[in-house]
Symmetry: C2
Subunit: 205 residues, 2 copies
């Protein structure tokens, strides 16, 4: 198989796994559910991945790499714009049923982490990267003067990662949406991060 053909296959399987997780959830997911949404047959899926667990790990790796490509920790872009883009991506509240269903499947996977070291490793890696993104945004903002000199990049990163996860969990398990968390983070940035005298509107809409 050529490299690009292999990429196409991977892309197709990742897409099929995403759709299957959205439509079937995590708990009852089968290789057949994924094959049904893929160009690949079930036996071809098994050729690429020994077990459903292996396939899901590859899926999480792909998800993480795609996120890491879009949100690099090293960037010349404006720190406040980068913060906004990250919030927009993670707390996307558009009326998209698939995204909501996917977040639900991800929460099911998170709840498995204590029983599944490989899931836990991937989720920790993802969390590390999100924190590293926030840390670098805050550090760059302090350096450029848009954020207060005493802003703490490490503590801010922990806090923001916690708010991200809490917003998702509450949106899934209660009648709460994601909009309040976006507003709360905008308030937080304005009140606790922006340097005095910086006239920038903070709105994570």
């Amino acid at each position: 198989m050529t490299a690009s053909k292999a990429d196409e296959t991977t892309e197709d399987i990742v897409e099929a796994t995403y759709c299957a997780l959205c439509e079937c959830g995590y708990a009852g997911l089968t290789m057949q559910d994924i094959a049904d949404r893929s160009e690949a047959s079930k036996s071809s899926l098994h050729y690429h991945y020994d077990t459903k667990h292996d396939l899901l790990l590859a899926f999480l790796d792909h998800l993480f790499e795609s996120f890491a490509d879009r949100f690099e920790t090293d960037s010349d872009a404006d720190p406040l714009d980068r913060f906004g883009a990250l919030v927009d991506e993670v707390l996307d509240d558009s009326d998209d049923e698939a995204r909501r269903d996917f977040r639900t499947a991800m929460l099911e996977i998170k709840a498995q982490a204590p029983y599944d070291e490989a899931f836990r490793e991937r989720l920790t890696e993802f969390d590390d990267h999100v924190r590293e993104c926030v840390r670098s945004v805050v550090a760059d903002g302090v350096e450029s003067g848009v954020f207060r000199a005493d802003a703490d990049p490490e503590a801010t990163a922990e806090f923001v990662a916690t708010v991200f996860d809490g917003a998702h969990t509450r949106a899934i398990s209660t009648d709460s949406g994601l909009a309040h968390a976006r507003r709360a983070l905008a308030d937080y940035v304005e009140r606790d991060l922006l340097a005095d005298g910086v006239d920038r509107e903070v709105e994570f809409a």
Copy 2:
């Protein structure tokens, strides 16, 4: 059955359900797992509760009532002390394996909420009560002058409830603990809630 005998039975079943959730998790939990940890037989459990789902709903109701009894929204106690007690309770990081296992089972239940309206109702009720506790603490603190006059009880309550949920989710799904969230909330109270000139140490240890 006398009232106190009925209370004892309920107490025993609640305790057995707690232990079974800690030891077996939510996904594979059976009535037998609960009966094994109870004075009651499996058939007696079925006499009280038609299904495992009914029993779990009664368990969640009991958990909620017990929490609501301990954390009333109406209290004469010092607002900052009440805030601290709430943080201590929700983000208890003591090295207690059972509490950790229980939080994991609760996250599994939260991940079921989109598929289970009765779970979702209970979790929303719980979330409402936590927010109401924070709201009343902040409102009372503003009134007594310990918190800033411009502190927003509603927005603070949403924010704190989000941090609580996020701290639990991250502690379960990654290598993160709960200590950072307690510190972050203490910083938040000191920086954004305490009125100028109020000399109170904020430490949620």
